[in-house]
Amino acid sequence: MATTLPKTDVVLIGVGWTGGILAAELTKKGYQVVGLERGRGRSTSDFIMVHDELRYALRYDLMQDLSKETITFRNNDKMRALPMRQYGSFLLGTDLGGSGVHWNGQTWRFLPYDFQIRTMTEERYGKDKIPEDMMLQDWGITYDELEPYFDQFDQMAGISGEENPHGGKRSNPYPTGPMKHTPVMTLFKEACENLGYKPFTQPSANLSESYTNPDGIARAACQYCGFCERFGCEYGAKADPTVTVLPVAESTGKFDLRTHANVVEILHEGNRATGVRFIDVQSGEEFIQPAEVVAVTSYVLNNVRLLLQSGIGKPYDPKTGTGVIGKNYAYQNMCASTTGFFEEREFNVYAGAGSLGMCVDEFNGDNFDHSNLNFLHGANIFLGQLGKRPIQNNAVKPDTPSWGAKFKEESIKYHNRSISFNAQGASMPFRYHYLDLDPTYKDAFGNPLLRMTYDFKEQDNEMSKFMASKTEEIMKEMGASEIIVMKEKGPYNIVPYQSTHNTGGVIMGDDPSTSALNSYLQMWDFENIFVPGASAFPHNSGYNPTGTVGALSYRAAEGIDLYLKNGGSLV
């Protein structure tokens, strides 16, 4: 019934950031690459009418159609998982470029501590510091080993920034200088300096100046238009796959991109993938794409789902603690949300960019002593000026009703007179936080939805309270006349937006019994399947993931090249 297409060297399941990087790197090396993308094509010309808050930020124009495919969720395995019927906590990208088109561009390298977190935590605090159900493990690669790949991502995307005093060593400075500073940023910077911290400009994939990358791709500088995250960039200033890696892949003549191609299965014989089965969602036709290497590049959640659905790898079982696929699902502890009111000043906060801001890292990773604290890791404290759009921003003082005359008056008055920031906390893996297939709910093709079992723990709450004390102090120092701080964390709730930083499920490591992938993102037990993406993170750091996802993708590209040359397990 399915039509079998000619065999290719590499097939990509999904063409967002991870797929795009593999497409460019492998076609440059001369391989034939087929990219299967379930959504439509995209380019900057789609975004002439993009300054539309309702359409993009509230109606999720660029996001996956949940009527066709979603996930189910429960806080713990005593609850019945129910479908995420509407968007809330996180957003899922679709179409060419994936979430890479509508991300903010906040681009980080995880800390050296992250990659050896178990070893370094035990060394400093002893084995007992790590709670029994916290599945902390080393990544099977160190920061120094990954540094050249971080550099590749930075050069390709033209990351703008300045040295992070607490970051790992860099072989090259940022390819472009830091973004411009606004008065709000300066206020934050000075307050942090007064408190003895070392603030620095948020590293950014919104270009601070025009830039030509090593592949010869030239892009314009960011215009600070204020419609960035959840929106596409009509200028091509924000690094996204459609304006960086995909044109390079296309120019080689070796990249065969197929849009509207939804992959439903990874085909395999024994411990070897033979290709993928996909459905052309426009014609309904079914195809088989045979390939030497299958790269699973469909974002964290579908990476896990496709493996489980195809019967590849051993599913994780939280009761026995065995198996690997679906293990170590983690998220982001967005906490200590702090709003300050400034009676005397109005700021031009309608202007901004997706990764325009200042931050401090004194309380991230293991940059501070945790001996007397009931949590591990930490958070990046970040003030962003992203463009304060009027529907979604309605800060009012405590005890103000949420509607009516008083609400109107205050939400107008403080629109340009209030400033908010928060802490982006790391998320630790726990034994009962995992992903598997839902027994009840199905997608449009009749396949089971992915089921997420996840909640916030004491770890998250303790971190939140600690960070709130720091953010409040900074806001006071900034001179706010009144401050609201969110200290405690309730249970994880899928309704309010928090962060699209889902991680884990197909994790890397140095031991096949506790991880799914080796340090080349190659599956231990399926040597011709590579799974780059934040699904490979054994835990999530106090940073946005994509800088590290990008580095892992360059590493995987090298691994695929080595595998196609020599075969076998690369580690």
Partner: protein, 259 residues
């Protein structure tokens, strides 16, 4: 010209309608007949509202013509009136500037409900349906069109129960009391909680105040002006570092499309 000297347009309208009715053969012994059209005329004749008539808001082009966008795609006129009264309580006119009625928010809501969003087109609406925990989000089987239909009817019923009057006939304080009962989840509703409906009404109202005028609300960009928000601008490159606050004349996307 002093205010009193102006002709009251509302009064004028009433007079002319009354004489129209008399001569139209739509009344029998003073009662209006004539099916849907008849009730429509009757309804307008009985209007006692003193707030701004949104239908008379000028077109965004400011050419003085009636706004062709001010018509209904989904609501019945009766539903529209309830919604139009409710949104004004949520976002009332005051010294700061126009309220939701003048900003045509109820039209915005009507048009949104007629769109795919009103039918939850891009959301997972397959069963089985179970109540679920709060952390799991909306689990009902009603789409937004259905929620508004049920919800507006519930507002009307609750008003009659509480005050023996229609919602639109209540004083502002009474309307607030009704809406507060919904906000607090104290009104029985089928298929959805009154609190969920209230939050949907509230968030859609705010959307209608501040969304690009192309969607029918935020009339004349006056919503944006409240927040000194400039709407769609090509670039802030040259002023992003600037210390002083700058009020920029707002632009809507129509300026981008028609330039």
């Amino acid at each position: 010209m002093a205010d009193q000297d102006k002709k009251d347009p509302l009064l004028e309208k009433r007079t002319s309608r009354r004489s129209f009715l008399k001569n139209s053969g739509l009344t029998v012994g003073g009662l209006i007949v004539g099916g849907a059209v008849g009730t429509l005329i009757g309804r307008e004749t009985n209007e006692t509202t003193t707030t701004v008539d949104p239908k008379k808001a000028p077109t965004p082009q400011g050419d003085g013509k009636a706004n062709p966008n001010a018509a209904l795609m989904f609501f019945t006129p009766n539903q529209f009136d309830i919604a139009n009264a409710a949104v004004e309580r949520i976002f009332p006119a005051d010294d700061n500037g126009p309220g939701a009625q003048e900003l045509l928010v109820a039209y915005f809501i009507d048009h949104q409900l007629a769109s795919g969003w009103g039918m939850n087109a891009k959301e997972y609406m397959s069963g089985p349906f179970y109540p679920g925990e709060e952390t799991q989000g909306y689990q009902g089987s009603l789409n937004r069109q259905e929620i508004f239909t049920v919800g507006l009817q519930a507002i009307e019923n609750h008003s009659k129960e509480k005050y023996e009057k229609s919602f639109v006939e209540l004083s502002g304080e009474e309307q607030d009391a009704v809406l507060t009962d919904f906000q607090d989840g104290n009104v029985e509703m089928k298929g959805v909680s009154s609190n969920y409906f209230f939050n949907l009404l509230r968030s859609t109202t705010i959307e209608g105040v501040y969304a690009d005028p192309l969607y029918g609300g935020n009339a004349n960009m006056a919503g944006w002006e409240l927040k000194k928000y400039p709407g769609h601008q090509m670039s802030y490159f040259n002023m992003i570092e600037q210390e002083e606050f700058e009020v920029i004349e707002p632009k809507s996307l129509s300026s981008q499309h028609n330039h």
